[in-house]
Symmetry: C3
Subunit: 272 residues, 3 copies
């Protein structure tokens, strides 16, 4: 399940099936996320009014919930959409942006866990904070907004325990990405440090995770394939990049042009 | 009215008059739409609070209403702004994004028709859905979010009838664009398929339609010229493009640099 | 305080300290602003719910308040965040986008002045309008949305008086930028006219001002250094630019790569 060839098969399925991905996400990354999903071969939609999310999510193949710029109306829509997704067996991904930095979003994140996300994807600081909040340990305050101050390795044990407690896949992004169901751990050694200088690169990984879950029923494999896809596209994009401006453009082009040969030669994915 | 030379004259008027275009649009495309209008030579503003839209629209030369990410406060602002626009003879364009996919936005779209849009611009699925809703036929559910699953040709008859019923121009974007007042039909054979891989390319067409309506009183001509402008700029942009990332950047550059020679040699516009 | 060398030292401090910048800004420029701050070396966050801004701003090193697309909930969050920033001696910057164009935002802007912005940064029309509103002169209506119709020179006297009345730095962007505390005036002669064709270039200047205030205690110097940084990066970016699309990308790359040699050879900053 964890080879570049299988990553390539998941990508082919996305391009063939063009799955509708419902995103309730933050206002910083809406455009970039939509463009990432289009470049990948999926069909994005950003419906987020409480009046329509329950109806809309039912025609979607997967749902993204991203807490980046939540407010009360959006939190309500997220609750409705994720509950409906769970009730209808539609996979959904939680991106707990900035969890631990503020009391409000920490509470919203923990409440959303009750709707059983298929995958939780965040940076190391977010996974550490979410696990601490979930187990009612003294809340972990990152004190630094939305960028991670911890290394992925430091969050791996918390990720495993969170995965087991929530019956979810947990996906930690960083220099090495770790994806776990609590038992198995997949490592991805792609993705350049400059990617952290493009806003929304983490949020894009989340959206791609949703697209993979839409076409691949093994959630651990789908979540790992997603990190392999963005990591490899990022590495290819870096070859034609002078700085973070040209990187975001090159990333969209690379994702659109990504093929099996590139994945086989450049994707570094392995079961731990 | 329907030659490349006249398209060029409309562009020249926009650049000279720098019309203020008021946009109440979705959160995915706000930045791209503003950049498209600036590149074209217009002056965009995105005011969308109910406290100020009535006052603001009166200093604008045209209004865009785009349903992409509506919620209740924005729907109220759209109602106020479009009514004021109509009362003050300010042209306005309705982009019924995703109409038919959800009950709420379908209802909002039909209610907005009461304020007499100058032009309705959408993809084939949206025009088919809006016509069905307007005539209270069984609602047409696209079942696929915001990307069109129908070809423009399939929507042409519905577009003509909708135009006649609403006394509006109806503009369908697709491989071929069709613009009709219910009697005459203009065809534009520009615009590359990769444009559908850039989010907001349809929304940009809507914003450009508003800019053309701001300077050209013949609404059918203005609406057709808009599709010719973005289609031709898109074709030029494609020449320097590797994927959808570089396409969106090249499109802004091409629009900014677009000149009469390019329009005359590359615009494919004709009266049916 | 007002040499290219000192601009370079401020940039170095930002890159070393990676200050968290809290932005409550408009929905057009959120992504671009975040990317500008990341390229500069700061850490942006866009938290804007009334439930969390007071808590979040206390871990930030500076705050941006930008009125571009305000509505009632956001105006409340702005009031709470800026009051907390003032109470905790956290520098904050007011960008009064479109002030004077609508009654509502004019009132909000004047109310925010009560929380003592460290710096007010706007275009000439906005500074003229804000000064007129603050002194309860007949309100200055620009009648043209958010793009300036006045030259910076015309706003300099108003800027000085506003600075003295509010005990704030006032920073006017334009062909020449003027930054004043009411006594001293700094001029920056960088920044190309095409920058006005990229949406959010003014808003980016505001965000960079906040990043400079986060690391440099002299507010006049910090505000001037910010305009020098974006102006110089803009000039460098123009060298590889065909239009406003490629300019916005080149600007991010140039800001990321900006070094002392470039600043010393290209920054045109002087005390008047």
């Amino acid at each position: 399940m964890f080879t570049a060839l299988e990553v390539s098969q998941t990508l082919r399925k996305i391009r063939r099936q063009n799955p509708l991905i419902h995103n309730i996400t933050n206002m910083v990354v809406t455009q970039f996320t939509a463009n990432i999903l289009l470049a990948l071969g999926a069909s994005p939609a950003m419906v987020n009014a409480e009046e329509e999310v329950e109806e809309f999510v039912q025609i979607a193949k997967a749902l993204v919930i991203n807490l980046g710029t939540i407010n009360a109306p959006q939190a309500k829509a997220m609750q409705l959409a994720s509950r409906t997704a769970h009730d209808h067996h539609i996979p959904w991904v939680l991106d707990p942006v900035g969890v631990g930095a503020c009391t409000y979003r920490s509470r919203v994140a923990v409440e959303l866990l009750a709707n059983h996300p298929t995958t939780i994807r965040g940076n190391a600081s977010e996974i550490l904070a979410l696990y601490a909040l979930y187990t009612q340990q003294a809340s972990h305050h990152s004190g630094h907004g939305v960028d991670s101050k911890d290394q992925p390795e430091q969050a791996l044990e918390a990720a495993k325990k969170l995965a087991l407690s929530c019956h979810a896949i947990v996906s930690i992004s960083g220099k090495t990405d770790y994806i776990t169901d609590g038992h198995q751990v997949i490592e991805i050694h792609n993705s350049h440090i400059m990617m952290t200088k493009v806003t929304g690169s983490g949020c894009s990984a989340t959206a791609i995770t949703a697209a993979c879950l839409a076409v691949e029923t093994d959630a651990l494999a789908a979540s790992a394939h997603a990190m392999a896809l963005i990591g490899t596209a990022g590495d290819i994009a870096m070859q034609n990049t002078k700085g973070p401006g040209s990187l975001q453009i090159a990333l969209l082009d690379a994702l659109y042009l990504l093929n099996e040969d590139q994945l086989i030669s450049q994707t570094n994915i392995k079961l731990q």
